[in-house]
Amino acid sequence: MAKAKFGVVVFPGSNCDHDAYHAAKHVLGGQAEFLWHKEGSLQDVDVVILPGGFSYGDYLRCGAISRFSPIMKEVVRHADRGGHVIGICNGFQILTESGLLPGALLRNRSLKFVCRQVHLRVENNTSAFTSRYRQGQVISIPVAHGEGNFYTDQDTLAEIEENGQVAFRYVEADGSLTDAANPNGSLNNIAGIFNKEGNVLGMMPHPERVVEQLLGSDDGLGVFESLLLAISGEEPVLS
């Protein structure tokens, strides 16, 4: 089977598009393409990455305009067919705006942008995005956002929890769940969630920024390696 092909969607204000591309292609040795938001084709990619950034400046609600981009129709179709989609930071916001994931990302409770290294606990390692992590593993990964405060109504929250849709939670270095470990006020310290079917992941932290020890940590590699494994059944050979 051919190597998994990653497609990085480029909205005009995407600014983590190069980072996701670099991680998928140069570090992981996968195939990667940029997908311009005005285009109507996904070029047969296996995984769609909605990267971080400020897709349309985010002067309105984050992600509120990008969901109307021509390419988003294709992304929704891809997801509906069971294709894999990962939205990181602004990409997570776009996924909730377009209805592929439940909930919304509100302004951080500090009302400030926050960029720092946080600890995440892997809550469900049975997915295509997390199989390379151990259940309960604590990883170190940066957040960089002003609006990452995950919110939803109580019924939906209960449903997300029951279905095992929580992918990652903000925790202390020892894995304990505290309010102090929560950088933005997210309900239940939620940092990332899957859709019900498990083929769509949205997360505020940036796995693509921690794939090389030179930059301090490679704890984010697991997300990309898991996808490679899920799609092409290959054990990645790191370049």
């Binding site: 005009p12 600014n15 190069h18 400020f54 985010d58 960089a144 030179l214």
Partner: protein, 742 residues
């Protein structure tokens, strides 16, 4: 149609021209200028655009040599070769006055302006830094300014997608009412893909690209060229409004047209907008331009020629395309949803001719307006300030030696100038673009260069108090310390950019500070072989009480030739030896300890010998490249004890140390908290200590094994014994507590 007022000498004065300057205009033109023309002269001959009171002194700085590809003043930013067919474009600029009035937009547009300077060179910005100065942090207005400025910097840089990785924040009452906001940007470009700010080739189309033009920022440059006063609040409309999203689009479109070789030249529109870009590009190309303002996309109805020419609306560029490429340029900008409109063409007559409403509104010789051309040049009177007699009279014997050195250390670590600036830099995206090998909090930021083995060390530095106490040596220290920080990270200093923040140049004492500081800076740059690639002068940093500390901020770039040589400031392992390079001296002059603990701003600037400093840095780099060094942190604000404390907690984890240092006749407070220069604290594996000490001896650098790392406490002689976790907490949270208290 707009009726323009008839020009008189009174109107010229109102626009900020002196009588002599008005006479120069009459002489250049051989007639009375139109109101529009007068406006163009007024803004181009403002201090901000013409450097009229500084250029003669700036020309004495070393501006060539080393790896310089483009020197000071030749282009929008300097350009330095880093090997592998790559070059670095970098520059620093001030946005002080706008930030004093409207901190959020003032700081944001400062970042936007410097980023444009970098990508007009064809370079993609890879890092930003910000050097900030504010008044007393207890003051509510100061807190408002700090929060607004930091928010504005984050807002612009985060959205644009450049990591903000280094900088400084100092607080001192001299900056009350007149904060300093200096923004620096660094970009990377391949050799042969750089763009130039010139207009050549008669008939080539002149295009305006990016945002439309509004009434914002008219006479911003003039506003930047006078003292702030009680009336300054009314100048709020002179502050521009930034749109980082549009800037991101402008970046991508600009890099595309440069890459496709569609253009002759390009210049960013910053101060003085269309006026400045048309005149400077024409003057540089020894050409001219004919432009029709009716074609400029405008945001508001009824704008006059004067307003369009002087508008400082952000996120715009002037492009001279190669004839026949207009459509391709338009297509690229359209892809990014931006305007690209032809507004005129290049001529060969040396004149900038401006039409509006079917009338010619201005015909001026391009060269007469531009810096280096016809703009006035002044050398002002200097006088040694009287305060120096008082400050130099300070003697260490006049203050008591404190009893509790541990208490002083904790107090210094929690003081606003030494405390961690985490509260600010956590609001900046520091890791976007995945190149940040070392972010804020260490000695210098380190940015790796993808597809190579290289990395850049980036640092801004200036201790304004030192420069106040001794302008010449203070400026030398700013360069020396920036270079030392770069060397501590494993980098060879390559070049500097400078942002010279001073008071009103018409005050002889201020001009003395300016001239002396430039002299000292030049001397230091020669010793470290770091030419000045350009920068910015900001005069008139005054408030009703007086001038700010003279603050010549140095932005330095260093090259780490192999990523294996990247060196951290914090201790890495237990049982490492701790080595002190350099000599402790019996002085507390100009120190944070003297200011913070004894409330005295006095003495000389700390000891510095440039040759000794050069030897130290050469040795340090040699040792790092030989793989002998685990960590390196320079001794600066707060002295040796603060450096040791920081070494314990700014690494990946807290590591204590037990230190024994000989007094050697040095008073204990001077030993622990004095700020004599040319000292570095290293750690190394125990089996490397001997080799390191021998290497230092051979290089003529004093070096001593002063202790060992390990445990969870920092112990220094019998005088200091503190828990690392506690001092780390104090250092890391005190600024946030100070600024966030309700």
């Amino acid at each position: 149609m707009h009726t323009e007022p008839t020009v008189t000498i009174e109107i010229a004065r109102e626009l900020g021209l002196t009588d002599e300057e008005y006479q120069m205009v009459l002489d250049y033109l051989g007639r009375t200028p139109s109101y529009t023309e007068l406006g163009m002269y007024s803004v181009m001959w403002s201090e901000h655009c013409s450097y009229k009171n500084s250029i003669a002194v700036l020309k004495t700085l070393p501006r060539s040599g080393g790896r310089l590809l483009v020197g000071a003043g030749e282009e929008n930013a300097g350009l330095v070769d880093i090997g592998d067919g790559l070059a670095v474009a970098f520059k620093i600029e001030s946005h002080n006055h706008p930030s004093a009035i409207e901190p959020f937009q003032g700081a944001a547009t400062g970042v936007g302006g410097i980023l444009r300077d970098i990508f007009t060179m064809g370079a993609r910005p890879i890092a930003a830094c910000d050097s900030l100065r504010f008044g007393d942090p207890d003051n509510p207005r100061v807190q408002y300014l700090v929060k607004g400025v930091v928010h504005g910097i984050g807002h612009y840089g985060n959205c644009f997608g450049v990591p903000t990785v280094a900088g400084e924040i100092y607080f001192d009452s001299s900056y009350q009412g007149n904060p300093l906001v200096n923004a620096m940007a660094v970009g990377i470009v391949k050799h042969g893909q750089t763009a130039t700010a010139t207009a050549e080739g008669e008939g080539n189309p002149v295009m305006i690209v990016g945002s439309s033009t509004g009434r914002d920022g008219i006479h911003g440059a003039t506003f930047a060229s006078v003292d702030l006063s009680a009336d300054s609040e009314s100048k709020r409309p002179s502050v521009q409004v930034g749109d980082p999203f549009t800037e991101k689009l402008l970046l991508e479109a600009t890099l595309e047209i440069i890459r496709e070789d569609l253009i002759v030249g390009i210049q960013d529109m910053g101060a003085a907008g269309i006026t400045c870009s048309t005149c400077e590009m024409s003057a540089k190309g020894k050409s001219g331009m004919h432009i029709n303002l009716d074609l400029v996309p405008i945001r508001e109805e009824g704008m006059s020629a004067y307003e369009i020419l002087l508008s400082e609306s952000q996120e715009r560029m002037l492009v001279v395309a190669k004839k026949g490429n207009e459509q391709r340029v338009r297509d690229i900008f359209e892809k990014w949803d931006l305007h690209a409109v032809t507004i005129g063409h290049v001529t060969g007559d040396g004149m900038v001719t401006v039409e509006r409403d079917g009338e010619v509104k201005a015909v001026v010789p391009a060269d007469s307006l531009a810096l280096g051309g016809g703009a006035p040049v002044y050398i002002r009177e200097t006088r040694r300030p009287d305060y120096l007699d008082t400050t130099l009279a300070f003697r260490i014997e006049s203050v008591p030696v404190p009893a509790d050195f541990g208490g002083v250390l904790v107090s210094l670590l929690s003081s606003p100038n030494i405390a961690s600036k985490r509260w600010a830099y956590e609001q900046y995206d520091t890791s976007v673009r995945t190149n940040t090998a070392q972010g804020p909090g260490g000695d210098a930021a380190v940015i790796r260069v993808k597809d190579t083995r290289r990395a850049l060390a980036i640092k801004t530095d200036c201790n304004g108090r030192y420069v106040y106490l001794n302008p010449r040596r203070g400026a030398q220290i700013a360069v020396a310390e920036a270079a030392r920080n770069v060397a501590c990270a494993g980098g060879l200093p390559l070049a500097i950019t400078n942002c010279l923040n001073f008071g009103n140049p018409y005050k002889p004492e201020v001009y003395y500070q300016f001239k002396e500081a430039c002299g000292g800076m030049g001397e230091a740059c020669l010793v470290f072989d770091t030419p000045v690639t350009g920068g910015n002068v900001s005069f008139y940093n005054e408030n009703p009480v007086g001038a700010v500390y003279p603050t010549p901020v140095i932005g330095m770039i260093g090259l780490i030739d192999d990523i294996d040589h990247i060196t951290q400031a914090g201790f890495r392992a237990a049982d490492d030896r701790v080595i002190l390079l350099g000599t402790n001296r019996n002085e507390i002059d100009g120190s944070e300890y003297l200011a913070h603990w004894h409330d005295i701003v006095g003495g000389d600037a700390p000891y510095l010998d440039l040759e000794e400093e050069r030897r130290l840095q050469a040795l340090l780099l040699d040792a790092i490249r030989k793989g002998l060094v685990h960590s390196a942190h320079d001794v600066s604000d707060g002295g040796l004890a603060v450096t040791l404390a920081e070494s314990c907690f700014i690494g990946d984890r807290n590591i204590g140390a037990t230190i024994q240092i000989a007094h050697d006749g040095v008073r204990k407070d001077a030993l622990y908290f004095g700020e004599a220069q040319s000292r570095v604290v290293l750690s190394c594996a125990p089996d490397k200590a001997e080799e390191l000490l021998a290497l230092a001896k051979a290089a003529g650098v004093p070096a001593a094994d002063i202790g060992v790392t390990g445990g969870d406490r920092l112990r220094i002689n019998e005088d200091i014994d503190v828990e690392v976790a506690l001092i780390s907490e104090a250092h890391s949270t005190s600024l946030s507590k100070l600024l966030e208290k309700v």
